[in-house]
């Protein structure tokens, strides 16, 4: 029988650091994919992925063995991403302009490509940051609303309202702005 994520993480907490590589193998694609979709920067997504798993070991004692490992890991992912952007904002205020400019350019590029789900990702990228995050954690990472509410520090009911709103907005963007059939 395959050991659960929580069992493995409990071993890491007890000092068997090497077992962290099993969790890395299980989740580094999820973490990278999430960070890439949020940031649209491959190098940054790779650096942050490394950073997340380093933090997983550094803060291993904060893991509650009775709760979901994936939800705990995505709390680290989210915090690492926020920390990075906070530092970046502090480093250079001018960057925010560049970020917006490149974000729009990337969204346009995604639309032009029309490959697979590019149009959907372009529409998701037009959502406000918080709604985009909720959508990605619930639909791509398949985390439960109760788990996402803990990750984002929101009440479960407030989170559900925001999640439903984000779906409605997404369809409006696709139908009205991007002229897709939905």
């Amino acid at each position: 029988m395959t050991a659960t994520d929580e069992d493995i993480m409990n071993l890491v907490v007890k000092g068997d650091i090497k077992k962290a590589s099993v969790l890395f193998d299980r989740y580094h694609v999820n973490v990278y994919s999430y960070l890439l979709k949020v940031n649209r920067d491959k190098m940054l997504a790779e650096d942050l992925t490394q950073n997340v798993f380093e933090k997983m070991i550094k803060y291993k004692s904060s893991f509650d063995g009775k709760k979901s490992f994936k939800a705990w890991l995505f709390t680290i992912v989210r915090n690492a991403n926020i920390d990075h952007h906070r530092k970046r904002k502090y480093d250079s205020l001018d960057d925010s302009y560049l970020q917006v400019e490149s974000t729009e350019r990337d969204a346009q590029k995604q639309l032009e490509s029309k490959e697979g789900s590019a149009h959907l990702m372009a529409a998701i990228n037009m959502l406000p940051e918080e709604e985009k995050e909720i959508l990605m954690l619930s639909k791509f990472e398949r985390l439960k609303y109760a788990e996402i509410s803990r990750i984002m520090g929101l009440s479960e009911s407030a989170l559900k309202v925001k999640a439903h709103r984000s779906i409605k907005k997404l369809r409006t963007i696709l139908v009205n702005d991007l002229r897709y059939e939905y």
Partner: protein
């Protein structure tokens, strides 16, 4: 119910948050209205598309980098070569007052032989490590090359041979992987007292493109406040094309030279 309220109900249905009775009632209402049918189809399709968005895969170097980092976190598996010969014998000291003179000569000779033997064993060990390192440096994987450099990494030693230093300098100047170059800098920093090491690091600083490697070189050179390094630091501080964290570190090192006001 208006369209907006219907849409809320449809989302609740797709999230599985409606009771069987509520779901059935909604389906009847949708069935009776062409516009609602179209909206319902749209939401179902949207949910289906959201569930099938593919994951992006990172490059293999992400795993490689984590494995190297993880290995460094495990003290028991750290690959450190002890340069001190393990079986250097310590000669017995014979104290006999009547033969003190003869014993002194004997002890002197024995100590000399012991020192000679110790040096020979250290040289043999260094030659072995050099050979081992050179062989490993030919590996394709950057993880293997970093391991090769780590073979030479022992923070408690100052023993080194010229060949080994040259291999490390070559790696620093030629290796494509910034992680490998970073490992070379960390190991070379152990021999920072050697002028050729300092010269190689200063010269690399002008060529290096990776911010992390540059940072490590500046920090390493900062351990030994060498006047020749000061002008390099000044250039970095005044070079706008450098990364901000590199300029900050160069500035910090200049402060340590007591030249810049905080």
């Amino acid at each position: 119910m208006n369209i907006d309220q219907f849409e809320d109900k449809m989302i609740l249905a797709l999230e599985g948050d409606l009771s069987d009775k509520e779901y059935e009632q909604l389906m009847q209402e949708i069935e009776a209205d062409e516009n609602l049918k179209k909206i319902w189809r749209g939401y179902r399709e949207l949910y289906s598309d959201l569930n099938s968005i593919p994951q992006d895969k990172p490059s293999p170097k992400v795993k490689e980098r984590f494995d190297v980092w993880l290995e460094d976190q495990i003290p028991s598996t750290a690959k450190v070569v002890d340069f001190a010969p393990k079986d250097v014998k310590k000669g017995p000291v014979i104290l006999w007052r009547k033969w003190a003179g003869a014993a002194a000569v004997f002890i002197g000779l024995f100590a000399f032989w012991n020192l000679y033997e110790h040096n020979r064993q250290v040289e043999d060990t260094l030659a072995d490590v050099s050979l081992q390192m050179e062989e490993l440096m030919d590996q394709q994987s950057s993880t293997a090359r970093i391991k090769a450099i780590r073979v030479n990494y022992n923070p408690n030693t100052t023993s080194v041979d010229d060949k080994m230093i040259q291999v490390l300098i070559d790696v620093l100047n030629q290796d494509q992987s910034s992680n490998v170059r970073l490992a070379a800098v960390e190991t070379l920093a152990l021999y920072i007292e050697q002028e050729r090491v300092r010269e190689a690091l200063i010269s690399r600083l002008a060529e290096e493109r990776d911010g992390g490697v540059k940072l490590s070189i500046i920090t390493s050179l900062g351990q030994r406040q060498d006047e020749t390094f000061k002008s390099t630091l000044e250039k970095i501080v005044n070079d706008d094309s450098q990364e901000k964290f590199v300029i900050d570190e160069a500035h910090m090192q200049l402060i340590r030279f007591n030249e810049v006001d905080i």
